[in-house]
Amino acid sequence: MVSPVVFWVVAVLLVAAALAMVLARNIVHSALFLIVSFIGYAVLYLFLEADFLAAVQVLVYAGAVSILLVFAVMLTRRGNMQESNLFNNYKVTGALIAAVLFLLIGNMVLNTSWAISSIAAPESTVGPLAELLLGKFVVPFEVAAILLLVAMVGAIIVARGVKDSK
């Protein structure tokens, strides 16, 4: 069990990074705050004793996805970066919708009685996860591999652009 002080420090940092991402006026700063929040998520996985997922989070999100995002920002910039990430006309409406959704979810969470289990979590999750992925969930695992291949080929074709056929 993680100590409450550590949890609250990480939680406040995570929410602050997420808010700063949405409020930043410069899209490069937004991308950097997003990386901070990805690392915060990895720390939360560690608190939840999901060590493999924490490593995957750092590799896939803080490593690969954030590089892709910064790459796309750099390829689509126009003029200076100062005002590159402004709100549209739905700033207040969007905030209201998000706040209402939060109240709904919070209400549901606090009014449900969860059947908390007292069994201890496994020491290491890598071995059991491998057995699940290559045993019980082997078909979804292979489908996910095909999905990644198709998405990669599709992304290359879309980003490169198709030449007019003769």
Binding site: M1, P4, F7, A11, L14, V15, A18, M21, V22, S30, L34, S37, Y41, L44, Y45, L48, A50, L53, V56, Q57, V60, Y61, A64, V65, L68, L69, A72, V73, L75, T76, R78, N85, L86, F87, Y90, G94, A98, A99, F102, I105, G106, V109, W114, I116, S117, I119, A120, A121, P122, L129, L132, P140, A144, L148, A151, G154, A155, I156, V158, A159
Partner: protein, 102 residues
């Protein structure tokens, strides 16, 4: 003592911040970033349920791995589309993507 509810509420806060960003930002790349934030919040929910409700089954973590796979595919295709649109229209603002409107 940190309980399941703490993680669920924290994930709800992050999900709603991501939703606000996805609804209220002009840049298409910022919308994709906000969607990543929302998907990660959902993953926290899945792993927290797995840890507190069925610690010995690990099914929630398997599900979180599949969500990460789909999110990576989504962001790659989404960014490719944004780059292609930028090439054609010289803009990455969602308001100006209006081919299907008229």
């Amino acid at each position: 003592m940190i309980t399941l509810e703490h993680y669920l509420i924290l994930a709800a806060v992050l999900f709603c911040i991501g939703l606000w960003g996805a609804l209220a930002k002009r840049s298409a790349i910022m919308v994709l970033m906000s969607i990543e934030l929302m998907l990660n919040a959902v993953n926290i929910n899945l792993v927290a349920f797995s840890r507190f409700l069925t610690p010995d089954a690990l099914v929630g973590q398997v599900f979180a791995i599949f969500v990460i796979v789909v999110a990576a595919a989504e962001v790659a295709v989404g960014l490719a589309i944004v780059i292609n649109i930028y090439r054609e229209r010289q803009t990455s603002f969602v308001d100006e993507f209006d081919w299907l409107k008229w």
